[in-house]
Amino acid sequence: MALDRWIALVFIAFCCVYGYAAFFTMDQLLPPFMQRNPVWPSTFPKILAVLGVIVGLIVLFGLEQPAEAKEKSATDINIANLREYKLGQAGLLLLAMVLYALALRPFGFLLATTLFLTGGALVLGERKLHILIPVALIAAGAVWYLVEEVLGIFLRPLPGFL
């Protein structure tokens, strides 16, 4: 089964869970005066859940006539080339983003950003650390200055213990 149909299946399951929450768990909490209203907080979600399941089924069973397959160029996104893609690098960069999110508060903006930019470039194969680290430092400093001083949004610059 092609990936898009798997996604449709997951989507249908998601709509069922969502619909279950809308149909069976939301209405008991409703105060009596609101029950006299023609619309409840659950009305719209109920409609969406039903529509979602219908559309999901159409995609799942391929009821709509698919378009003629276009020629894909080398730069297009193509699942058939998945094995040739650098999934490892992409995964490591995603991991770096998660670590950055977790490190932002305890390490402070400057250190976390410098580490992220350096680490990201290292993952991609950059080895000239004597250029990379100064560039990352300057960029982190410049962005911090712009955000904090010019935009007036507080970013904790230094690690929490300093």
Binding site: V55, Q65, A67, Q89, M97, V98, A101, L117
Partner: protein, 506 residues
């Protein structure tokens, strides 16, 4: 109209707002050139900046400038490197890149700049004529019609997604609407679908969603498939001689005239927009060109370059019509602009012109100024700005990721938002792999709250679903929406039956 024009002129011409146009155009051009960051991502990154400005006029002027700049920057990388940074400029590379390879890069850029300028300016004139008229009509609309109109908009966006894609696009629209129901809405004052998580209490931030849907997957694809950004390594052709001849000017003038009007009206339609306008403009001009000129298309024809460039800029302007008059975005980019406006406490819609004329007219005036700046400021600077294309990708990609993270972080000041961003980004990447269009998801998300709001209001007014039958306009719009969704598949089914030689019995 003249009065409004003058109000807008006085607001837009203030030194601060002029600086915003210039800055927006420059930033847009810079980032629009980079592969992987389209106008949607750039505008999403700029939103926190725009919101901090506090003044909705200045903010909208800045964002509109960024939008124009990004499209212009996208054309530049299409012409120089055959690497369109933006989908709307893919058609530009058909003839722009061959010209650059012939050593006429400078000339190609000039034609692109003039065509963009003319398309954008004529588009702004049309916007000035049509938007007030449309908003007069729109003032008669009630919540029932608004509900129906939004349904039409969402269906149109799905219907334009292409044959065989309508159901997928609808699925994404519904997913967007579902995501919009998360959190505590203003309507019912009770949290919904938060799963007890505090972080979901205020719902999902639309900037985070926009970043996750567009910027992050594109950056990941650049990592996974180096061929996608490979052009950045080569540095590009030399840009010399920016002049065009009188004959070339004569050849492109009628093209520009036709495509400005055509592009504008395509841009007004929800779901169509710059990409469709540019491809259609290219196809139309190729069809009406004669003999040798038609042969030239695809090999470096000046007409083939001017057509998509005019059309995409005119369409960008056209897409402001539904946004400013109805408050309904027709494209991903205008959806993001709508989100920004709401964050700034401005509700676009028919009342915008009467309540806040300075916002409305200042935006239109800044379109003229923005186009002028792109022509007179950016064109001479292009050889220098193009140097950004020589940045090695090892540096470029971490920075794109970093700006994506910052865009989501600054707005919320909450590190959990970044984890949501990464999670949604992975989801979006998988969806892109399976050929699901993502713009409908974002538009559904942004319209979701308004759609439910208007639906609930009409339900309350008519004590049930009667509003559909009692208001003919609503009924007509809903029928139109159903037709839009069903027609493409009906037509392809008919065509298939005819091809098989089976009578279809109608």
């Amino acid at each position: 109209m003249l009065e409004g024009f003058l109000i807008g002129l006085s607001a837009a011409i203030s030194p601060f707002n002029l600086a915003m146009v210039v800055g927006g155009c420059l930033i847009g051009t810079f980032i629009g050139m980079l592969p992987g960051l389209g106008p949607m991502s750039i505008i999403a990154i700029m939103i926190p900046v725009a919101i901090t400005l506090g003044d909705p006029t200045a903010a909208l002027i800045l964002l509109a400038g960024v939008y124009y700049g990004a499209i212009f920057g996208g054309s530049t990388s299409s012409i120089l490197l055959n690497a369109p940074g933006v989908a709307g400029t893919v058609a530009t590379s058909f003839d722009g890149y061959p010209m650059a390879r012939r050593g006429q890069a400078g000339k190609a850029l000039t034609i692109a700049a003039i065509a963009s300028f003319a398309g954008g300016t004529l588009g702004a004139v049309l916007l000035m004529i049509f938007a007030p008229a449309l908003s007069t009509v729109a003032l008669l609309f009630h919540s029932a019609e608004y509900f129906a109109l939004m349904v039409v908009g969402l269906s149109a966006i799905a219907a334009f997604a292409g044959t065989g894609q309508v159901a997928k696009a609808l699925m994404m629209t519904i997913l967007g609407l579902v995501l919009a129901t998360v959190g505590e809405g203003a309507l019912f004052n009770m949290p919904r679908f938060t799963m007890g998580l505090m972080d979901l209490q205020s719902g999902i931030s639309f900037i985070t969603l926009a970043m996750a849907m567009f910027a992050l997957p594109e950056a990941l694809f650049l990592v996974m498939n180096p061929a996608r950004g490979a052009a950045t390594q080569s540095g590009g052709s030399k840009i010399t001689n920016l002049r065009i001849t009188r004959d070339e000017a004569k050849a492109i003038a009628p093209v520009i005239g036709r495509q400005s009007v055509q592009g504008f009206f395509i841009g007004v339609l929800p779901g169509a927009g710059a990409t469709i306008a540019s491809f259609l403009g290219y196809a139309v001009e190729r069809n009406i060109a004669k003999g040798a000129e038609q042969e030239e298309f695809g090999k470096g024809s000046v007409k083939g370059l001017a057509a998509p460039e005019t059309a995409n800029n005119a369409a960008c302007t056209g897409s402001f019509v539904p946004l400013l008059t109805l408050g309904i975005p027709g494209s991903g980019t205008t959806a993001i602009l709508l989100g920004a406006l709401i964050a700034l406490n401005v509700t676009p819609g028919p009342r915008l012109m009467t309540d806040e004329p300075q916002v409305f007219w200042a935006v239109i005036i800044s379109m003229y100024i923005g186009n002028l700046i792109l022509l007179i400021l950016n064109l001479p600077l292009i050889p220098y700005i193009a140097k950004i294309l020589a940045i090695p990708r090892n540096y470029l990609i971490p920075f794109i990721l970093f700006f994506t993270l910052m865009g989501a972080y600054i707005g919320q000041n909450n590190a959990t938002e970044l984890l949501i961003l990464v999670g949604l980004g992975v989801l979006a990447t998988i969806l892109r792999f399976a050929d699901y269009p993502l713009a409908p998801l974002l538009i559904g998300f942004i319209l979701g709250t308004m759609l439910e709001d208007n639906f609930a209001r009409s339900m309350q007014l008519y004590r049930g679903l009667d509003f559909i039958l009692e208001r003919p306009m609503t009924l007509a719009l809903l029928v139109l929406a159903a037709l839009l969704v069903l027609l493409p598949s009906y037509r392809s089914r008919r065509a298939r039956k005819r091809a098989e030689g089976v009578a279809d019995g109608d």
